[in-house]
Each structure stands twice: as structure tokens, then as C-alpha cells.
Symmetry: C2
Subunit: 385 residues, 2 copies
Amino acid sequence: MIYLDSNATTRIDPEVVDAMLPFLTEHYANPSSGYKAGRLVKRAVTGARQQVANLLNAEPDEIIFTGCGTESNNAVIQSLWHTPPAGRQVISARSEHSAVIEPLKPWQQDGGRVTWLDVDRHGRIDLAQLESALDDGPTALVTLMWANNETGVLQSIPDIVRLAHDRGVPVHTDAVQACGKLPIDVRQCPVDYLSLSGHKFHAPKGVGALFASRRARLRPWLLGGGQEGGHRSGTENVAGVVALGRAAELMASHLRQGDMARIEALRDRFETGLTRTFPNAEIHAAGAPRLPTTCSVQLPGLDAAGLLILLDQRGVCASAGSACHSAAVHPSHVLEAMGYDAEHAARTLRFSFSRFNTAPEIDQALDHLAAAATIMRREQSRLTS
Amino acid sequence: MIYLDSNATTRIDPEVVDAMLPFLTEHYANPSSGYKAGRLVKRAVTGARQQVANLLNAEPDEIIFTGCGTESNNAVIQSLWHTPPAGRQVISARSEHSAVIEPLKPWQQDGGRVTWLDVDRHGRIDLAQLESALDDGPTALVTLMWANNETGVLQSIPDIVRLAHDRGVPVHTDAVQACGKLPIDVRQCPVDYLSLSGHKFHAPKGVGALFASRRARLRPWLLGGGQEGGHRSGTENVAGVVALGRAAELMASHLRQGDMARIEALRDRFETGLTRTFPNAEIHAAGAPRLPTTCSVQLPGLDAAGLLILLDQRGVCASAGSACHSAAVHPSHVLEAMGYDAEHAARTLRFSFSRFNTAPEIDQALDHLAAAATIMRREQSRLTS
């Protein structure tokens, strides 16, 4: 299998599995238990919180473990809803993940206002439009993603924070795709809230975190035994949390060692090969800052769904956009926001890379893609002849 | 280590770890991905949903995977809050878990009414009191736990369902402690909502489920990609869910094989030994139906906190009540609801058992407890002389 879908989810790092296994076997005590076995588990949770904090240059008490990035996003939006005065605006963008767009719908239905910023052909917002939206009425929150899951395009979060904070407006960023792939320092770029998800950086599914700055308002969303500083009650997902901590530590270490340059070189190798085989290929957001791990490409005249089936038969995993949606096939709202039509979206493939990919895999994937395209063209011409 | 704290959390069954491991290693794809690797993972999630449904005699589409029992409880209560007419009453009891009591506080603060039923000396509610509460005004929900976490006492959920349904009122039960330990059949005992938590029956921490009957109203609480039938978006905790399914299957199988009788015999062996060593020991809820796994006992003249330290030194894990609370030491609200005072609670220990306990462990634990009590009495008489 050649796995080129790391924006959907990543292979779990064997070192992460090694770190969590003891907490699935001998260290099974409840971290709230007072005896030695419980205290050992509690220390592991504390250590993991420090590791995640380190990745962001945050303080441990600013990290709240959650079940996923979606929960982190929902928690911020629902929390701000309860911050008076009611009915204020939230500023977001049309290209956000559904885990931000969907929880903003009740905000609108319940009488709040959501201003959806446009994005340009690269998927970037216009800072001037953000500024005028901020000046257009009291604003509860700006929520804009750090890196887009479909194209990898980056928003300029430091500029966004500056503009919002100049007006006293807090900023949330969905950094699920960015975290561990770009240096993020919440002191240098003082976002108020930041969502991350373990399974996007080689931890298992089912664990995420919310960074909430000490100055940020946050309303508890799961009430009970008072875990996670009272914000998110419920017995901790100990093995998951330990995995998230170890994965954060490994990502930080790999970042320092320049791993992203190696992944970017793989991505560039892929894109060079791609444009050689498909001279009319259009790589999205290629002219803008984007994640080194992501290639979103439109292949003219080739149906993406068909190509993906042929690639799957050859053991190549890629996607037609976001995999974060259950089942439903629908045109990408991200590409639509960038000004592309449904036909364009239907010809778009996403390849996304991680440190587990190798150059030979890239070359094989390109061969498979070329072979799949040949079959597709033959089939299509047979159908039209 | 002699682990007698299975109501706090359980040892993860090695067979459960075996079932989940492939999903932490080779099968890491996103279940929403369309290629073979993703479909394999989706099938595993589907299979786990069926396994959990089987444990309850429910349908798979009535099972929603959550992060913990607390999330399941919160989801039901918050969901009902949004069901008009607003301001209706919820009926619950003073001995409920904090994961029910705490989310009911905002219900009260936001203008709703909560009727807290009393419990008797055994911790059981009075069905006549429930009936008059039901007749005292429009009721949105009855929420009563199946088995109490501290004492193991059971509420008569079938009677509660009958009384509530006679008046068209839905019933939620926090079955976190009961699930897998008692036969639960949601067709025979048609509760509308039921919460369960994996780590209470030999699955890992960080995964739970909510049963919501097809006729039950349920408002989505995590919005995004539409997973879990749209109720709880977010990429699935695949390994956790697979573990939960396997643990449910194993519990069902052990239940059928009469495992609970074996555990009850261990618990009775423990209690017989206990009353031999401590003739004045008072076993809570001994005169009522209770879980076969739980022994809550007051040892007159002996401080529980001190005993627990001495037991811990000898490798015996037990607790002074609920371990579901982070850190804070406070008198048990459960014992208080049963009419006991703070001094009584401070002399109360909870021992809870699972299929991993053995008769020799029970006997050793009794020896350690006797030795600890001797030391405590010596220390206490030294302090008072």
C-alpha cells in the first residue's frame, strides 16, 4: 500500500504505540485514584499535557484534552455563544472545515450573525475584508483555520491575530492540519484558542486537544467529575492522551530536524512528475504559502472518482478532497469558495504526504497514476465514440 | 498488586487489547475514506456497533459512540433542554453520579426545574415519590442510574420506566456501572436513553456509548462531518470503538456463562471475612438488590484515608468512594443522601471486584486489611493517650 492520504488520517507512529501500550496493559488505574498505581497514571497524563504544551510553546494548564478536533472547535464556538452580549457576530471563512461551519449554523439560527469571508483563487482570505468586517459591529470571535485540509493553503494567522486583537476580539484557529507540520508558537502568535487532533500527526484517532490561553473565556462543556480543569469532565482517555503527548514530542523533534523539508521535497518530486505526465494539471494554491505535505490537483478531462478506484486497485490511497465527511459525495465547498465549479472539483485529487513516505513510493504512485489515466482516457473515448 | 477498585476503572482485557491493536498499527485508515483500507476500518466500526447493540438487545442505529459515560449523560440532558416546552422538570435523585448532577445544575440555573428524589438507607428511591413528582407537572425526563457506583445498589429501572411511560415521559439511565454486569435488554425494559462507558467493563478509557431508542428525541451535540448519524461528528476513535465492541461481546459471553455468580461468591467471601474481622462493620445496601461486584463498608473507629494508605503500601487498591472525581476529597454525597453523616463517610471503604480477581487475592486483601487496622488502632490510641 502506498498511503498518500495523510491529511485524512496518518499512520500511527510505532513509537507512539510503544508509548501508549503500557497504559492499555499494566497501567490501567484511574488517574483520579489516590494509590500508587493511580498516581503513576496521573503523572503520565501530566507529562503528556506538558508535551503538547511544548509543541505550541504553551503552558500545560492551557491544554485541555478532547476527543477530536471537532470537539475542540465546537467547544470554542459554543463557549463564546454564552459570552454576553448575545447576538454578536462571528467572522469565519467559506473554506473552513465543516467542524467550524456546522457549529456556526446554530449560531446564526439562534439569532447571532456570522460573516463569511471570501477567499481568493488560492483559498486565502483578504485581510482588508477581515478588517472591515471587524469594524462592522461587535464581534465575539474570529475563527479561521491555519491550514486548509483540502489544499494545504495557509491563512496568515499572525496578521489575523493582530487585526482582531487591535479591536479586542479573540481569535480561534483550527490548526488540525497545521499542528506539528509548521512551527506554532502561541506566545509569538498569540491566538486565544487553537484546535488540534492527534490522528493528523501520527497519534491514534479519538484524542485531540484545545489550547485555550489563560486570558481566554471558556465555558465547561462536559459537566461531571471535574477533570480537565472542570472544562471537560469524564475519565481521561489515558492511552490516547499519552499517545498524543508522545506524538507531539516526536513532531516537535522532527520539525527541528528539518523533516518538513524532506517531505516538501517528496511533494515537489510528486508535483514535478505530475506536471510532466499531465502538462495541463492545475495545482491548487501553488502560488500561495501552503503546507509542505499537500498536493491538491485538477487533472483536466479525467474524472477523479474513477481515477481513485483505479489507484485503489493498485494500492495507492488518495482522496477527492476531504475524508472527514461520512459517506456523502458532494462537490468540495473549499474549491467552490475558491471560485471553481463542480466539474473542476470532480476532476480534483488530493495527495498528502508524511514522514513515512519515501521517494520510491512517490515514483511508483506517479506510474500508477499515469497508468490509471491511460485506462480512464481509453474508457472515456470508448464511451463517447 | 491486588486490584479491588473495578468500579473506578477496570483492567483492560488482553483479548480487548488484541482486538484493537491492528487498528493502532496496520489498519490506520480513516473509516470515511473510500478505498479498500478505509472500507476495512469502516466495517470494523460497524461490527463494533453491532456488538454493543447485542449487549443491550438494541439495534445498531440506536448506538452512538461517545468519548465517555459523562459525554453520554451530558448529551441526553442538553438534548432534552432544547425540547419544547422549555422550563419543564427533570426528575433525578440525590445519589446520582456527578455526571448527571452537574449537567442538571445549568438546567436549574437556566430556569428549568429539577426534582431530586430522596433515597432510603439502602440508597433506593421511593417509587411513590417518583409517581407524585411525575404527577406534579410537565416532565421532560426522568434520569436515574441503574447501579450506584459507590454502593452498587440498584434502582428498579423496569418500574421506573413503567411509571414514566404511563405518563409519556422518557427515561434515561446512567448504566455505566450496570452495563455488562447485569442482563440489560432495552426491548424488555424500554428505556429511552442509556449511557455506558467502556473502561468500566474491561475496555480502555476514552470510549463510551449512548443508546438512544429510535423513538427518542436527540439533538446533535458535536457538529461537523456528520459521523455517528450526525449526532457526534468527529473522526471515530476507531481502536477505542473496536475495543468497546469486543469488550461488550466478552461481557455478554461471560454473563451467559454465569461469571457474575463467581464474582458475587468472591465478594461474599470478602464480606464474610470482613465481618469476622470487624464484627461491627456496616455493609451499605446489603439489604437491597445491588451489584454482585461491589462492597461498600463502614469500619467503625477506623479512618478510611489512613487505611487506604496502608493498603496501598501492601499493594491493595481500593477507594473511599467514587474515584471519578479529580483530586478533591469531599464526603460522599451518596452516603449523605442515604442518611449517613460525614464521619460515617470518612470511615467508609469501597472494594469492587471483576472477573480478574481470585479467591487467594481476596484472602490476602483481608489479611492486609486486618494488619492495616491493627496499625491504625495502635496509632490512634497512641495519639489519644
